[in-house]
Subunit: 238 residues, 2 copies
DNA sequence: TTGCTTATGGAACGCCGGTCCATATGGATG
DNA sequence: CATCCATATGGACCGGCGTTCCATAAGCAA
C-alpha cells in the first residue's frame, strides 16, 4: 500500500519525513559505515523517528540501498553537465564522471545495475546512447554498442572500486598492493607464468587510469568498426 | 586459528567434513536458494553437523560465498581446456566460458573480484595475460590490457547476470523485458530521447550475444592499437 | 465537530551470523 | 595396550538485524 510515497515535501507536516530525506540520510550513513553498518534502527535514531515510519516511505532495505546508489549516480551528471563535445570525448568524460562519483561512495558501485530501472541509471544509458548515435554508426548497432559501453562503465567501475571494503580501512592501498604483489611473486611460475613476471605493474598501476585505458580500448574498437575503411589521414575524425 | 583448514581428505575421520565438501554443499544451496537462502544452520543440517563445526573449516559467511564463487569460476576452465589457438579466438573462448559458468550460477557473478586473491580468479587473469602476451603487443602494455579484459569479463558478466534474482523467479525473462520496454516507451521523449526509440532492440536482445558484442569491440580496439598501421589485406591477422 | 486518510514510532517476532564450550576422535608416544 | 594432545565436532547461546504490527497522532474535508 505504501508504494511510491514521498511526494514533494509540500503540504506535509513540519519535520516532515520523506523518501528524499531518508535516502539522503542513508547515503551519509553508508559513506560512514558501509552497507553492513546501515541499519533501520540507526537511521531512525538519526532522523529522530522509529523504524516503522521509515517503512512507510521505503519498502525495504534493498530498495533503500538501490535508491541511495541511484542518488550517487546522479552526482555524476551534476559534475558533468552535458557539454557540447564530439561523441568520443563526451563518452569519455561521462564515463569518468561516473567512475569518480562511485569512487567517492564505494558501497554504491555494486548497486548500479543494468538493464536500468531507476531514474539516473536510465539517464546514464540514454546519454550514452545519444552520444553513440552521434558517431555515425549504423542505427541498428546503436543499442548494442550503447549497452556495451554502459555495461563497461558500471561493471568495470564496480570491479575496480568494490574490492576495497573487503579489507580493513587500517590497511592502506599501497600496503595492500605490495602484499598482493609479494603473493604473486611467490606463486609457481609454471602455473602462473604471466602473473609472476608482472608484479611491478601491479604495484605501480592507478585504478582510475586502468579504467580509462580499458575504456579507450573499447572506444578504439568503436572507432575501428565505425570507419572500417581507414580514411586517408587522421583516423580519429568521426 | 582455523586458517587454511581442510587439507586433503586423506587420513581424516569417516564422514569427514572438509572445506571442500562444505563449499560444494554451499554451491548447491546457493544454486537452489540464492545467497539470502544460504544459512549456516541449513548448511549444517544438510551435512548432518552443527554450525560450530562449519566454522572450524570456514571463517565466516563472506569467505564461504567467495570460495563458492571461485569454485564456480573453476568450472569455466574445466569447460575450456587451454586449446592451442591464436590469441584473439582464445580470449573469446575463455571469456565466453566464464560467462556461461557464471550464467549457470547467477549468485556467483557478483563475487568474482579483481585484483584476484583466490585460486581460480588468479588463473583467469594469468590466462588472459598469457594470451595477450601472444598478440605481439609491446610488453609494457600487457598488464594494462590484460587487466582491462579481465575486468570486462567479470564486471560485465556480473552486470548482465546479477539483475535477475532481484525479481521473482515467477516472472519470466520475456515478461520482464516486455514490461521494461513498455516502461521505456512511457518515458518522456524529451528527457530520454534515446531510450524511447530503442525499445524494440531491448525486447529482441540476447544477453550472451550482448556480452560477446562488447567483448569483440574491446578486442577490435586491441587489434587496432596492436597494429596501428592497417596491413595490406586482412586486418584480422595478428 | 466528526470521520477518514496519511503518517508516525516503538514494541515485538523470528531468524541469522557468530561464539563458546563440553565432548569425542584418532594418531603419536611410550 | 594405555596415555595424551592437537584436531575436530555439534548444539546451546548471544546480540543484533530486517520486518511487521498496532495504537496513536496529525492534517484535511464535510
Amino acid at each position: 500500500m505504501q508504494r511510491t510515497r514521498g511526494r514533494a515535501p509540500s503540504g506535509g507536516r513540519a519535520g516532515a519525513l520523506s523518501q528524499e530525506v531518508i535516502v539522503g540520510a542513508a547515503v551519509s550513513l553508508l559513506d560512514e559505515l558501509g552497507e553492513r553498518g546501515l541499519t533501520f534502527r540507526l537511521l531512525a535514531k538519526e532522523l529522530n523517528t522509529g523504524t516503522g515510519a521509515l517503512y512507510w516511505h521505503v519498502s525495504n532495505k534493498d530498495e533503500l540501498v538501490d535508491l541511495a546508489a541511484d542518488q550517487v549516480l546522479g552526482h555524476a551528471f551534476a559534475a558533468h553537465p552535458s557539454l557540447e563535445e564530439d561523441a568520443a570525448s563526451g563518452l569519455r568524460a561521462l564515463a569518468v564522471a561516473v567512475f569518480d562519483a562511485l569512487d567517492r561512495h564505494p558501497w554504491a558501485a555494486s548497486h548500479v545495475s543494468a538493464p536500468p530501472t531507476l531514474a539516473n541509471a536510465l539517464r546514464l544509458l540514454d546519454r550514452v546512447g545519444t552520444l553513440v548515435a552521434r558517431t555515425g554508426l549504423p542505427a541498428e548497432r546503436h543499442f548494442t554498442v550503447a549497452t556495451a559501453i554502459s555495461y563497461y562503465i558500471t561493471g568495470v567501475s564496480a570491479q575496480i572500486i568494490a574490492p576495497r571494503p573487503t579489507h580493513d580501512a587500517t590497511v592502506s592501498r599501497e600496503d595492500f598492493l605490495a602484499r598482493t604483489a609479494r603473493r604473486w611473486e611467490e606463486l609457481d611460475p609454471a602455473d602462473y607464468p604471466f602473473l609472476t613476471r608482472t608484479t611491478q605493474h601491479l604495484r605501480d598501476h592507478a585504478d582510475r587510469d586502468q579504467f580509462i585505458a580499458g575504456l579507450d580500448l573499447l572506444l578504439d574498437g568503436l572507432n575501428a568498426t565505425a570507419a572500417p575503411r581507414p580514411p586517408a589521414g587522421d583516423s580519429n575524425a568521426w
